[in-house]
Amino acid sequence: MIFGYPIQLIMGQVLIGLINGSLYAMMSLGLAVIFGVLRVVNFAHGAQYMMGAFVALMLWQWLGVGYWPALVLVPIIMAIVGIVLERLFLRRLYHIDHMYGLLATYALALIIEGTFRKFFGAAGTAYPNPLPGGINLGFMFLPWYRGWVVVVSVVICAATWFAIERTRLGALLRAATENPVMVRAFGLNVPLIITVTYGFGVALAAFAGVIAAPIQNVSPQMGSHVIAVIFAVVVIGGMGSILGAIVAGFLLGIVEGLTKVFYPEGSSIVIFLVMILVLSLRPAGMFGRPT
């Protein structure tokens, strides 16, 4: 018992929080990468996450392609979708007010969500659990799949962080974030870098969608339910900060889980309250540089 609450309950909620945190981390990471290079807040990120889950569902229902291949295929498919969207709708907005990028991606989110609701209904569908069963840890029961979610998210986040902060390709990305005009004047194809970056960010969202499919109801609204939370996570972590997005994602998932134990009514707004707190103490966010 901790503060009069059974440890099983607390650990269970911490685990659920950690899983939500894994999804938050992967999504806010994608959002941060896209924002860094494109200066666009990708409002369609939630819709692309939802599409990731749906593409996995369609692969399984229509083609019999299971979870494990989907984990690789869906991000690739969605990266292509993202690249097409970037070329068609975002490219022409870079030289004007960044707010238009936010509005254009919001419009895309409406179109995507509306279309999926039309064809799949609002009710949603279950996706089979690829890793049934679990292990009793004594203080709690850990389903295998939930453990896998946490592990794979940590690995993906760490790998992305490493790729951006420690490799040559990452240096290119950081340079394009800082001063795209100069990077281009060195002879590098910045428009291509931008397109590929958007594709990568969308692929990350879609990957999170596949990961979420077996634990959440796959429904057209799953993206719009989470997008505002992701925005808050990114603001808390510090806009554009890769590490901030990851750390804030996991942390806030746990905070949300713990709130479910101690004050369930507050769990849906606790992240926004944390955002207010962080903004009052550090306007640039936990890891953001003051602008």
Binding site: R39, I96, L102, L103, S268, I269, M275, I276, L279
Partner: protein
Amino acid sequence: MKLDRYLLIAFVAVGLVLPLFGDTFFLMKVYCFALFACAFNLLVGYAGLLAFGHAAFFGAASYVSAFALKSWGWPMEVAIIASVISSAALGLVFGAIAIRRTGIYFAMITLALSQIIYFMAVQLPFTQGEDGIHGVPRPPLLGFINVSSDEQLYYFVLAVFVFGFLAIYRIVHSPFGHTMRSIRDNETRAISLGYDTQHYKLGVFVLSAAIAGLAGGTKAAVVQLASLTDVHFQMSGEVILMVIVGGVGTLWGPVIGAALIVAMHDYLASIGEWMIVIQGLLFLAVVQFFRRGIMGELLALLSRIGLRKGTDKNEATTGETLA
């Protein structure tokens, strides 16, 4: 400026006789959303702050007014005033948090803040969750003017709209409004001229929230319902759409945009799920091709053919910047 006055007189004249021809319920909805859009335009068009959470003020006011009318049986005007005050207070709190950042951050923060109101509306007992507050009564105005039918209520709603519109007009053309625009155009310069720009921004944020509250509070009486739709972030998106379709930073653009979107909702209601897709497509088209909106394009056309001298600094952007 003179033109605007004539336009308003013409608008009121037409508004007074419209019930003879049109559907008063539809027109009242247009007035409410037009006022909401004008309030939002005050913030984005004249102060250059794009919020993505104005549904919080509109929706909170809608709930306050609906609850005061139904559960407390307050008189119409008192309930609406209460809803304005509550939105202004909310605007003061949210504004104080959000104006510390600008641009995209401001948009994201206002969205996140508005979600707090949304989830409160989902959970608090008085809002009645998914159902919303139904069957909101329409008590007599000032205790003796009957406004229970659409035809009677219509003139009150028209008056509310004109009052709100004039208030915005006065704000925009006051010294406060001029300072607000100079902050929008060049904040650094305004700071160097000695203006406390944060105070001005907070001021305009609260005014915008209060007028959005006026629109929301009145809407609850018109539709006789306050529901989660009013506080959902899609409502925040919709008011942005109204404003940019009509023309950001133009006086009449938001009115046109609101009329268009409300009409779209009414006449396209039968197509159900496609409604949101069509809204998205319209949004995308405007952002890609007509960033000046209907009014902005019209004004640009007028100045191109020489019917309008130069470009009014208060109005019509080039579409390069939002505000």
